[in-house]
């Protein structure tokens, strides 16, 4: 009997090693709470209750009823704010990543396939872009455009497109010398057709892997921007902003700052795990990423 039990545990362990079960579960929870945040949150994320100011989580001594993760410095429910924050993070990251992927991959395809002057121009632009201190640009942009969710999306899209150009271009450079591409040329296929039908399907894997690995960084950057005041403006419940707002009260009521940070950590870690797993499955050559 004992042996069978051990085998079962091993099976379990192997499944955990083989498939990214925990990360996918965390991300599923994130997406679920993001979509249904209005239904799931027990309290309003913005309504203040000064009686419950800095109240400890309900499971601690002196914790207030119904404040599962405690209250913040104006008595808002930290738990409900985290749930609504999931929605903000999801929206911001989804839109900025989609725009970044679209612009970056297109430029990468064009640069790699066209070569010559076009390639040179695009790649120099990427170099310059990556050399600029992003946090400072974000601060300037927040002043010029005014801090808002839209500004953050724009900034994150601007932050992310350049890396896609690099990876897609490198991939296209090796693909365009392949025999089947030459054959397509000989057969009289147009440039557009070659790019769309023969090259693009082969860089999709690279795009997916790089995108998954970038999402975590995007969430971290969004949180950093909110933290330094160039991101999502108060009183929107964004995770980075919550950490920033509550940091003054850290020594007495640590929960206001700790739990949003923990949420960021869990989500980013899951995304990194999933990204690594996808990379090993789809595109092992990107190992050094």
């Amino acid at each position: 009997m004992n042996i069978f039990k051990t085998i079962n545990i091993f099976k379990f362990w192997n499944a955990f090693r083989k498939w990214p079960i925990i990360p996918v579960f965390i991300l599923a929870v994130l997406i679920f709470t993001g979509v249904f945040s209005n239904q799931l949150a027990p309290n309003s994320p913005t309504s203040q209750n000064l009686k419950l100011r800095n109240s400890p989580p309900s499971w601690m001594d002196g914790g207030a009823e119904g404040r599962f993760l405690g209250g913040d410095h104006v008595g808002r429910d930290v738990f409900s704010r985290i749930i609504h924050g999931a929605r903000i993070s999801l929206t911001v990251v989804a839109i900025s990543l989609a725009s970044g992927v679209l612009v970056g991959s297109t430029l990468g395809l064009v640069a790699g396939y066209a070569g010559g002057l076009v390639d040179e121009l695009i790649m120099r632009l990427v170099d310059v872009w990556l050399a600029l201190p992003f946090v400072l640009l974000a601060l300037i942009a927040a002043i010029v455009l005014g801090p808002s969710v839209q500004t953050v999306m724009l900034l994150l899209a601007l932050f992310t497109w350049a890396s896609f150009v690099r990876y897609v271009r490198a991939e296209v450079l090796s693909l365009k010398t392949r025999d089947y591409v030459n054959l397509a040329k000989v057969a009289g296929a147009s440039t557009t057709r070659i790019i769309v039908k023969h090259i693009f399907p082969n860089v999709v894997n690279t795009i997916i892997v790089v995108a998954t690995l970038r999402v975590g960084q995007l969430i971290l950057t969004e949180a950093t921007l909110s933290f330094i005041g160039a991101g999502i403006p108060a009183p929107t419940p964004a995770w980075g902003l919550m950490v920033s707002e509550e940091k003054e009260y850290l020594s007495s009521s640590w929960w206001g700052s700790f739990f949003p940070g923990l949420a960021i950590f869990l989500v980013v870690m899951s995304l990194n795990f999933l990204g690594d797993w996808l990379r090993d499955k789809l595109d092992p050559r990107l190992r050094q990423l």
Binding site: R124, D127, V135, L137, I140, I143, V144, F265
Partner: protein, 316 residues
């Protein structure tokens, strides 16, 4: 090789030029710099005087002329004067440079000295408990937000335990140990992410090399495991970490802003954030220019070191 170096140098100069244009445009987008001296509505200042001031500051000329004047002066080391107290920007940056440079250097050393050994250990003992620990360390370093590490570290080590100071660099009269204490928290906070990347880089490079033909041959010849690891694999596995080192240093210099903000570190990053809040465009363009130049310089170094460390690469 010389051709390659010249080409990279030309790239660096071109990039720097483009960066100055972007920085200049951005600095003017913030708003009319004249408004810093005279509020809109002209409170207490007649229009003639305002025009005189505009001409005095050179703001009446076309933007393109202003840009070239700015570049010409910048090339001579004159980045303009801070709008707040008329201190030369170059002096301000020069004063804050040591704080940022020291912090970047210690974080860099921390990242290398923890990341590379952890990467090697975890690749040798692949699948063992040390491998999991090292990868866990890397995982945390890559997924924890820097500002969160910073405030939690302050909470634990400065507020609760009282072991380490929570902010600043300390006084110049402090003993060496006192000064070192100020460095510990910011260094680890800034360096952890880099250390994690070093661990991953070294680990994957080691694993790849341990799997290569020449290592298999060495093993088949009967070379001892130690010799294979240190003579054959280790030296080759160092190439990626070495070539990335210059980039990491650049990243620590430009990436220190958030850490400087949380720990009230008197560096250039904090100076830049102050410039933004004070709408001090001369100071802002100066700091952004400094960061871009530092980054481009170290990318250039990275390219050069890549050429020296690995003769197999093609210079094209």
């Amino acid at each position: 090789m010389t051709r390659f170096l010249f080409r990279r140098l030309y790239f660096a100069i071109f990039s720097m030029f483009a960066a100055t244009i972007i920085v200049f445009c951005m600095s003017r987008l913030i708003g009319d710099p004249l408004l810093l001296y005279a509020q809109a509505g002209g409170y207490g200042m007649p229009p003639e005087q305002k025009e005189y001031l505009r001409a005095y500051l050179g703001l009446d000329k076309p933007l393109i002329v202003q840009y070239f004047v700015w570049i010409w002066n910048a090339l001579q080391g004159d980045l303009g004067k801070s709008l707040l107290d008329r201190t030369p920007v170059s002096t301000m940056i020069w004063e804050k440079l040591p704080a940022t440079a020291y912090l970047a250097l210690t974080a860099w050393l921390f990242a290398i000295l923890t990341g590379v050994p952890l990467g090697i250990i975890s690749s040798i003992k692949r699948g063992g408990i040390t491998d999991y620990l090292a990868r866990g360390f890397a995982l945390f370093g890559q997924a924890l937000p820097t500002f969160w590490i910073a405030i939690v570290a302050i909470l634990i080590f400065a507020v609760q335990l009282g072991w380490l100071p929570a902010f600043g660099m300390g006084e110049s009269t402090d003993t060496f140990w006192e000064k070192t204490k100020h460095f510990i928290l910011p260094t680890i906070t800034l360096g952890w992410g880099g250390s994690a990347t070093y661990t991953r880089l070294t680990r994957s490079a080691m694993l790849e090399i341990m799997d290569s033909e020449f290592v298999k041959l060495a093993r088949a010849k009967g070379v001892s495991t130690n010799s294979v690891i240190w003579k054959h694999a280790f030296r080759n596995a160092l190439i990626p970490p070495i070539t990335y080192s210059a980039l990491f240093l650049a990243g620590f210099i430009t990436g220190a802003t958030v850490v400087e903000l949380v720990f009230s570190w008197p560096g250039i990053g904090r100076l830049a954030i102050q410039a933004v809040t004070n709408n001090d465009f001369a100071l802002l363009t100066g700091t952004v220019l400094f960061f871009s130049a530092a980054y481009l310089f170290f990318t250039f170094l990275a390219d050069v070191s890549y050429g020296f460390a690995d003769p197999r690469i093609r210079y094209d």
